[in-house]
Symmetry: D2
Subunit: 152 residues, 4 copies
């Protein structure tokens, strides 16, 4: 992975924080790769819960995860907490691609300059009232909330 690809603090539009857990750590003392995805989808869902003004779990259209990935640049240290930067890479008609940067906290409590990892998270909205679950336009409350995360 080229160093140039490693995201920095200024790449993100909104921030959250999460605490790490003893159970996150594997036999090598590293946070297990699967656990990063718990942080990534929480960053997205907490943002939507806070900014949309609705209980997103009760909307007829729900976001299902079509694809997700994470690149790991450097380990994060347990015990401690991490800063989660969030931005939208692409806001489509029925899908949203988020980027979530995972940063150690710097001494001044701001995120460190460079991300320790970055997740890419693809939500597709589907009609949860129809068992065939066809894709549908992104609900207006969600679209309004994520607009501010589009960084270019």
């Amino acid at each position: 992975m080229a160093a140039a690809e490693r995201p920095t603090r200024s790449d993100y539009a909104a921030w959250d924080e999460a605490t790490l857990r003893w159970a996150d750590v594997d036999v090598y003392g590293h946070v297990n790769n699967a656990r990063y995805f718990e942080l990534i989808d929480t960053a997205v869902n907490v943002f939507l819960a806070r900014e949309s003004g609705v209980d997103i779990r009760r909307l007829p259209a729900i976001g299902v995860v079509a694809e997700v990935g994470c690149r790991y640049f450097r380990e994060v240290e347990y015990p401690g907490s991490v800063k989660l930067g969030i931005r939208v890479e692409r806001l489509g008609n029925s899908s949203i691609i988020y980027r979530v940067g995972i940063f150690p906290a710097a001494d001044d409590e701001r995120p460190a300059d460079e991300a320790a990892a970055e997740g890419r998270f693809v939500h597709v909205y589907v009609d949860n009232t129809d068992p065939a679950r066809p894709s549908v336009p992104i609900p207006a409350q969600i679209r309004g909330a994520v607009q501010q995360l589009v960084t270019r």
Copy 2:
């Protein structure tokens, strides 16, 4: 469970905080019972890491969990964070019994008056350099750290 048994904020000697995760929540919208134990053992291990002044994972004597339990009084709400109160119920020769109260955060950021749940966590120290893992006295650094959590 009699109301009298439900622990309150003043029962605990030290505090920590933890953020909840989307993946903590089950199909009923409740934090899954197993996930509380991730908060409970993190509260104990973070306290020991911070107060003992040593990397407890590198000590020859390690604390293994002999028994653990949790009583659930009221749900905690995702998204959000919880306050974790900790105290020591019994400090033995080779074992320590902790109590960890899980509290929602009140409006003023203090823990609520009454615990939403309480965990009971029993650590027994064993010699990690001996495959038979005999129990051993609690290391001095650990004993020194937990002394302040003995509440009676």
Copy 3:
């Protein structure tokens, strides 16, 4: 813990099996204590799903966990799978106390003679259609299913 307390294979009335995961293992190479509770509540819920003949998640009365605990006698080995023995300690009017024994698989694929751990799991049935969630009698389909687990 006295050796006499350690449960044996003949103590259980029904069996299930679960595979362990890399992420279950902590920095000491042990299955993390919280992860046992994922096995314990799966054993109860899978039994109920299979034997009740209904989707228990859709019943108006749902089982909420009031209390749960686990005693650990010996480690289970990752990688591998475990056998889960289940029995009912007490079948009340609105609550059920389960015991779930966690056994390594013996060479002949039967569970080993002695449990590596035992969980105690207390379900209380509540009316999920009422926000106050009052306790209610155990649904007939559930009671019918668990009757066979009452051992004595």
Copy 4:
């Protein structure tokens, strides 16, 4: 995602099986996206543990996850188990790219024809005895084991 991209049973070189857990399921009744990665890295690590003939956790060179991702085609059903197909997309000098297909079990206990999800898992071998963790050649035992997974 084009239908053509969806992997099928014949794409994989080795198989494993994993049981699902109640705690895997989120508020929508779906297996949480992060939990697939627990299945994916277990498939890789169990294969290596079984086929390499060594305790891979004790080797001086360890595989760290540089990148991982998953595409979700269809939900898997809890309760139940899944079949995990594994193959190697690229066997490099110090890195291995695995593909892990997650399949529901068909009626005849074989995996279904089409994958419900596919993970892509990138291991880079590093010298675990050097704090700088430089990348190193894949250990011979690991290379020997994964050779059979190279599918083209």
